[in-house]
Structure formats: C-alpha cells, structure tokens
Symmetry: C2
Subunit: 100 residues, 2 copies
DNA sequence: TCAATATGTCGTTGTACGACGACTTATGAA
DNA sequence: TTCATAAGTCGTCGTACAACGACATATTGA
C-alpha cells in the first residue's frame, strides 16, 4: 500500500484495526490516546502527530518503509517539487552562488 | 529503510534533502512550511503533523509504503501490542463478526 | 421491547505546535 | 580579512489539537 495522504493512513489504521477485531476503545487504550483521537485519525485528520501515528501503526503490527521514488508529486498542489536537477547541480557546483 | 520513530523520519528527510542538494530554506519553500519547521522535523520532532511530513517526503521524492509486520513492538513501551490472538478471536466469536 | 456495544459528534479546556523575526555560529569564497 | 550562505536556536503569538465528558445513532442480543 502506498501512503500519500493522511486519509491513506486513516484507511490503513481502520482496515488493520478491524482485521484484528479491535474496537476503537481498545486500540486507543493500547496506543495511549483517546478514543476520539482514533476516530479522527481514521478519518484522515491532517494534523495528527506523526509520533502517535507511528505508535498506532506499530501497535497494529504495521511497518512503514520508505522507498526512493522515481516519479514524485503526482497529484498535488504539493509542489513543483520533482527533482529539479538543474538546480541541484548548480547548487552543488558552485555551492554558494545561486543567489536565491 | 524502516521507519519506527519520528527520528527515523527526520533522518530520512535530512538524508534525502542533502542528497538532492537542497538547503532547508528551499525545501521549506517547496513544502510550504517555515524553515524552522524543517529544522525541527529533521531533528525528529515528535509532534510534527503527519500531513506535513507526507508532503515533505513527497517533495523529496520519497514514497511511504505500509507492510504488515510479523514482528511488532520491538523497542517501545509501545505496548503489549502484538496481536493478541485470543482477544481477536473472542471478539470475533462474540459478534459472529464476519461482517468485517 | 429493552439493554449493551460500537461508532460518531459536540462543547470545553489546557497545551503544544507552527509561523515569524532576529540572533548566533560555521563554512567557504572573493 | 570581509561577505554571503547554511544551519541552529530563542521569544512571542495565534491557532490547532488532544483529552475529557456527554450525547446521538445504529446494530445486535436477550
């Protein structure tokens, strides 16, 4: 499963929680958060602290792995990110210049 | 790379940012956060919102994948997490869940 | 029917977070 | 040396968040 948004993570949490037969209250107890937090996390709350999210996933027995990604930024305003090789090389070459 | 804590994510961000030859200011600009936020995120700030973290990673061209994990909860107070088959089965039996 | 459970939602409150600005240190170039 | 950039840190402030408690719906079972 590929995770791009908080909603993805929320769906993952819900899916795994149900697969394990846990209710929200029990999961909340184990993770050490409030039940409401679980509700909102599953709903894809954008502001959920990454620390709690990681704890939750770990409690559910789900591991997160990072993979270099050849094709970034597919669907977002997220950025003009991509990799901008020119900028990178320029910065590397001259190290300092770039001038903003 | 396996991500377990905010520190792991911070290290990942720093590593990828440097690999791409970006400075904190530029990355912050692209992600849409303050430079200070990048500093703290790289330092493994516990509270960083998962939404921003995901945006950052995506900007860096890093994808996150979830994998079911056979061996959970290695080093944390994190819990008696694991899977607790008994509880699961009990819950399932009681409800005739199947429902899913 | 009523009772219990699971989930979602609504207020309230204290706290932590993120943005902004400025300062400091370190490194490298002119 | 001086100057510019990069990175880290501090203080302030407004806002978002997580916890708590309570209530509203299903849904299921007695």
């Amino acid at each position: 499963m590929r995770l791009r948004t908080p909603s993805d993570i929320g769906a993952l949490i819900r899916e795994r929680r149900r697969a394990l037969g846990l209710d929200q209250r029990t999961l909340a107890l184990r993770v050490g958060v409030s039940r409401q937090w679980i509700v909102e996390a599953e709903g894809g709350k954008r502001g959920a602290p990454v620390g709690l999210v990681l704890r939750t996933l770990e409690t559910l027995g789900v591991g997160l792995r990072a993979g270099e990604d050849a094709a970034p930024a597919p669907g977002g305003r997220t950025v003009g990110a991509a990799v901008d090789i020119d900028g990178i090389l320029a910065a590397h070459r001259r190290k300092g210049v770039a001038k903003r």
